[in-house]
Symmetry: C2
Subunit: 277 residues, 2 copies
Amino acid sequence: MSERVFIAIEDPADPRIAEFSQIRERDLTGRSGRFIAEGTVVLRMLAAAHAAAGDFVAEKILLLKNRVDGVGDVLAAFPADIPVYVADAPVLDAIAGFHLHRGVLALGRRLSVAAPADLVARLPETSLVLVGCGISNHDNVGSLFRNAAAFSADAVLLDETSCDPLYRKALRVSVGSVLTTPYARGGSSEAMLASLAEAGFAIWALSPAGATELNAITAAGRMALVVGTEGDGLPATILSRFATARIAQSPHIDSLNVGTAAGIALYSMARAMGRIS
Amino acid sequence: MSERVFIAIEDPADPRIAEFSQIRERDLTGRSGRFIAEGTVVLRMLAAAHAAAGDFVAEKILLLKNRVDGVGDVLAAFPADIPVYVADAPVLDAIAGFHLHRGVLALGRRLSVAAPADLVARLPETSLVLVGCGISNHDNVGSLFRNAAAFSADAVLLDETSCDPLYRKALRVSVGSVLTTPYARGGSSEAMLASLAEAGFAIWALSPAGATELNAITAAGRMALVVGTEGDGLPATILSRFATARIAQSPHIDSLNVGTAAGIALYSMARAMGRIS
């Protein structure tokens, strides 16, 4: 293997690192499939995803000069032909458009995107799936993936009104779980849930007004948990068509954060299914 | 009751709204006890706290001009002598130092601070308490309060290395629960836990390496859940002295977000204690 070469960047406008420019305000994802991985933990997950030759590859890395030694073991996990650019703090901050105290960035690319129905068709006989409808907050999408991974969910499905989980902040909050948990995004929530119902999933829509408390849910071989936006929750069209679950809580409180609520429900369902112990 | 007067602010340097200046970068809390409430939900909680004549009062309100009508019902809950300042978007953004799309701010003041031991001494005979050690991330502290409120905890105790829950972001993430859940902050975690143990609390330290899975914890009349920082978790001095609990989860994942983990554990303990159903 050839020796890794570090490329010094002294001009924030250097075209070789253009994808890292002003990353706070914009997002690269969309048709290009490119995304920003931020921080050491996510960089490590990207290295593992790249090595696994799955849906994601790394294209380039940009580091704060004084972080190079600290992430040496993570860099060693990338092929030597992935360029590593290095900049001083003022240059790096000028590139990113804000103070990047972590000083660790990478550009990744998603190679393929599964359609929700195709992902459902590939799920194992015993499955736990998390479905997000209208999750437009990046932190919440990241939190959903982190919890799906923690409780061994097989996949995350997001409807077309949910935000892209590869957005920089969503990926960071997921601590990289977006790169390891199979997911699909697109279409209406009705279409997603119809394909899950056809595939034999017991579908539970989570709502503060749900009919069945979590602990009374009967385990099934294939289970799907459906969560909605924090403000309005799931639409009545979904709550009226599927079984509804609620989390016992204080009557004085409106509702939990959607990521926390999904975490509690996934924990309860994964335990009932005997997937975690 | 006199008619409410709205005071137009045209100069971002107007001394009457100086406390709202550059609020992203600084925090007012500390000896003055003042804090920034942001957003309609927190403003509503501040109105309720003010009316309850407890630990918190409102001092002034600053609104984006086009939000005035939308928060009319919340304003009506404040006494008419609380000044309400109104500004256009460019002035408001110049005051705050960043784009405030919510456009709803208030200045509150904490009137009294309980010492941890005094708060413990006042707890009811049957109690559930959440203890945070070294929780320095504002979002995580806010999330702990939101979950403590959701699961009917009687109090939150924070050690001296945890951040102030009245920090703007912590208060916002708590959706105002910091104003309704009794709390104390200060001293070492060892001192806090000693006072809880003396008061007859069954103390459970949460850790991915905990000995007892949540569902195997025996309910007690007085229970305390102890959580630590996300990176290092609780120190060995605590884990070796008290009973330890773990949340069943995938073996491939390091750990949950501390707010989510506390939410799952509080849910489980509150159910076991028969406090929620």
